[in-house]
């Protein structure tokens, strides 16, 4: 089996190469099928691996070395793959969801002139993402890490004629790079400390450190730096602002990259390095704080957004915050579990939104929608399943994953639980607000749009249905003890050295109480929203002037973008101008020029001594003689 592992990333790469090199000769309609076929190939191999993983055959599997990449001094890097339960799990999500989205895209993108380019980018993304999760050392991960950043850049700016989209793409890339710097420095410190970047060796050596001081400083710094990388990639405070903007890309891209896979790379990385993180409680606290902060902040912003994709984007940010919250509480498997369920329901939501947008002829403003449930029945049903899942209604996937996190939180501190529930309620509120505004009530769009409303073709709805099914059932892999399950997923991951959370101290009754409370709150919020948006037909304000102060604050994303612009972008531009116009021209270069000028000036001055007057010449000569004679006397 292992000898075919290289095929998993190679197939999408091949797809990318074929599509990009021969894009002139490939009919547009064929490109989507080629790309999907490649991915299907990978997916099948991965599936095979997944079965071996589930049956426990991948435990303690040595890395698969493809070739030695860089060797210099003590640094030995090879392009090698770590195939274990964790990476196989992620590979399954990537190839599986990726495949569905590819298929969806065939139809969604069919009339775009750059469709071949689109699929080549998509294949390249899958390749990079696979590299990210498969690599057996940090550098290969970094390779994938940067690669997905590039693909994200290319895909966000896919419609390159629109400079706003290009700005969004650029912003995404640069913000990611800020994180990447942290990641890079983390790697460098790891290499500096342990002399290697291979996961196994690093973790071995790290666990051998006994000196507590060393642990607390070095490991904390390493983990914090790596976490900075995660902040960028997984859109956490303060580097989250790129993700909502990234919705400029085609909707399937948002589903794949900015919801299901790439943005969860941070979680993967931390889960992968959990050995280090577990040694650094301080870092975990930081992660918790940032995760919670992000979850709440993004949810608050999501409350007032009117662009369907923006709402989903903030929801993604918020959910990512949840995942980090879990990790911050030491629940790596809970985090990964939420990644999994989130991948399904968020992809579903995005694809559903895509379907809506498709039907609306490109309209994304929920104020102009409404009453779509009759025209788009499949979309509506799948969409409502996903919405219920994200709100955490049992027995959908979201319920289990969110409950696992909330349980961890309560165990740590009831306040933390409260915060978690608060974020969940906010989520429920804006999700249902969106759902109601979109699918319930009267249609608020133009007549022209109304006539063209139609359900999407099968190629788009089938992936929706499959994802809906997954959303419904995937929760059951981690049924907690209290509900009679065995936490199968945690044990599955434990085989890949992912630390299990400490056994729960909570009594069953407490857990029931918590679940019940949370559920009751959620359900009540659903009704409140229903009351607000369906019964009272409240409409979001159509212009800013009508909003209240808090609404405005939320609608404008708490002015964070403006803040960044003011604190970072503007000063950088100013600094650039200042450097090039003042420092460069008036200091550094002036020193050079002035020394040149002063020579010219002295040349000019000295020239006048040459007065043409013989007497003067003779006087100078005599003075010269006198000076020399007197100097002789002195010396």
């Amino acid at each position: 089996m292992m000898e075919f592992v290289w095929l998993i990333p190679a197939l999408p790469l091949l797809g990318f190469l074929i599509l990009s090199l021969f894009n002139k000769y490939i009919p547009k309609s064929a490109s989507g099928y080629i790309a999907s076929a490649m991915l299907l190939g990978s997916f099948l191999i991965v599936l095979n691996l997944l079965f071996s993983a589930i049956s426990g055959q991948l435990i303690e599997q040595p890395p698969v070395v493809l070739f030695h990449w860089v060797h210099a001094g003590n640094l030995n890097l090879s392009l090698s793959f770590q195939i274990d339960n964790l990476s196989v799990w992620f590979m399954s999500i990537i190839t599986g969801v990726g495949f569905l989205i590819h298929v969806y895209s065939i139809s969604y993108m069919h009339d775009d002139e750059g469709v071949t380019r689109y699929f080549s980018y998509l294949n390249l993304f899958i390749f990079s993402m696979l590299l990210l999760v498969m690599g057996s050392n940090y550098v290969v991960m970094f390779m994938g890490w940067e690669g997905v950043g590039l693909c994200s850049y290319l895909l966000i700016g896919f419609w390159f004629k629109n400079q706003n989209y290009n700005d969004a793409a650029k912003k995404a890339f640069i913000m990611n790079r800020i994180g990447d710097l942290g990641f890079l420095l983390g790697m460098l410190l790891i290499y500096n400390q342990f002399g290697t970047l291979e996961y196994r060796e690093v973790f071995d050596q790290a666990s051998k450190i006994i000196n507590p001081n060393e642990v607390s400083t070095i490991i904390t710094v390493i983990t914090l730096l790596l976490f900075v990388g995660a902040m960028g990639k997984s859109a956490q405070i303060p580097l989250y602002t790129w993700l909502p903007d990234a919705m400029a890309g085609p909707t399937p891209v948002s589903a794949l990259i900015h919801a299901a896979t790439m943005v969860t790379a941070g979680i993967y990385m931390i889960a992968r390095s959990n050995v280090l993180y577990s040694m650094a409680p301080c870092t975990l606290d930081v992660i918790y704080i940032i995760g919670t902060g992000t979850a709440i902040l993004a949810a608050l912003i999501g409350l007032t957004q009117t662009d369907i994709k923006k709402v989903l984007a903030y929801s993604t940010v918020s959910q990512l915050g949840f995942m980090f919250m879990a990790i911050g509480l030491g629940g790596y498997s809970a985090g990964v579990f939420h990644v999994t369920t989130h991948a399904f329901f968020k992809a579903l939501l995005f694809l559903g939104a895509g379907s809506v947008i498709h039907a609306m002829g490109g309209e994304q403003d929920i104020r102009k929608m409404g009453g779509l449930m009759k025209k788009l029945p499949i979309t509506f049903i799948t969409f409502i399943i996903a919405t219920l899942a994200i709100a955490g209604i049992p027995p959908l996937a979201g319920f289990f994953s969110k409950d696992a996190i909330l349980a961890l939180a309560f165990e740590a501190n009831p306040i933390k639980w409260g915060l978690g529930v608060f974020a969940a309620l906010l989520t429920t509120f804006y999700m249902f607000r969106m759902l109601y505004l979109t699918f319930f009530g009267e249609f608020r769009g133009t007549q022209h749009q109304k006539e063209h409303l139609h359900e999407s073709p099968l190629l788009m709805t089938i992936p929706l249905m499959i994802l809906a099914a997954l959303t419904v059932f995937s929760g059951f892999i981690e049924v907690p003890h209290v509900l009679g399950g065995h936490n199968w997923f945690s044990h599955y991951l434990a085989a890949a050295n992912i630390a299990l959370p400490e056994a729960s101290h909570l009594s069953n009754s407490t857990e029931y109480l918590l679940m019940g409370t949370a559920l009751a709150l959620v359900v009540s919020v659903i009704f409140i929203t229903y009351f607000l948006y369906v019964s009272k037909k409240t409409q979001p304000a159509s212009s800013e002037s009508e909003m209240s102060f808090l609404d405005k604050l939320s609608y404008n994303k708490f002015y964070v973008d403006e803040l960044y612009d003011f604190v970072i972008v503007k000063p950088l531009g100013f600094l650039s101008d200042f450097n090039s116009n003042i420092i460069e021209k008036h200091f550094i270069d002036r020193i050079v020029n002035v020394s040149g000028k002063s020579i010219q000036w002295s040349g000019k001055t000295i020239r006048y001594i040459q007065s043409g007057d013989v007497n003067t010449y003779a006087i100078f000569m005599v003075i010269g003689i006198v000076v020399i004679l007197f100097l002789n006397l002195v010396l």
């Binding site: 007057d613 007497n615 003067t616 006087i619 005599v622 003075i623 003689i625 006198v626 004679l629 007197f630 002789n632 006397l633």
Partner: protein, 169 residues
Amino acid sequence: MGNIIFYILSGITLCSAFFVILSKNPVYSILSLVITFCCITAHMLLLSADFLAVVNIIVYAGAIMVLFLFVIMMLNLNEAVTQGTKSFISKLAAFISGGLLLVALVFLLKGQQIGAVDLSKLDPNFGSAQELGKILFNQFILPFEITSVLFLSAMIGAVMLGKKDLKDN
């Protein structure tokens, strides 16, 4: 006695030398220069350089000074030539630097122990034409011959520079 003559002569020498430099009229300069030369010749005599003294008179006072006069007459320069527009500063500079030169030389050489010239110790023929001739035509024969090259070039030069170009006329 010798000292007195020396000082008197020196006085005349210096005065006439001053006059050479300060006189406005070049003819007066020349005449005082002749006096200076004569005084120097006298000094030479005092130092028992008899033959040289004669040559000095002939060459300097006789040939060179006559040449000067000849040029003056030819160019009709005998009236006082104004000193031109000379600034006070350049005058002062000339004076100071000339003075400093003297000061420097004297100051540096003042510590030098130089024995007095004792004429009595000298060969009676010292400085005579015969003695000088011997040295000139033995030890210094080569420079003597070489001097002819000098004169030749001076001759060519004088002719070349002095003659008017035929084309001009």
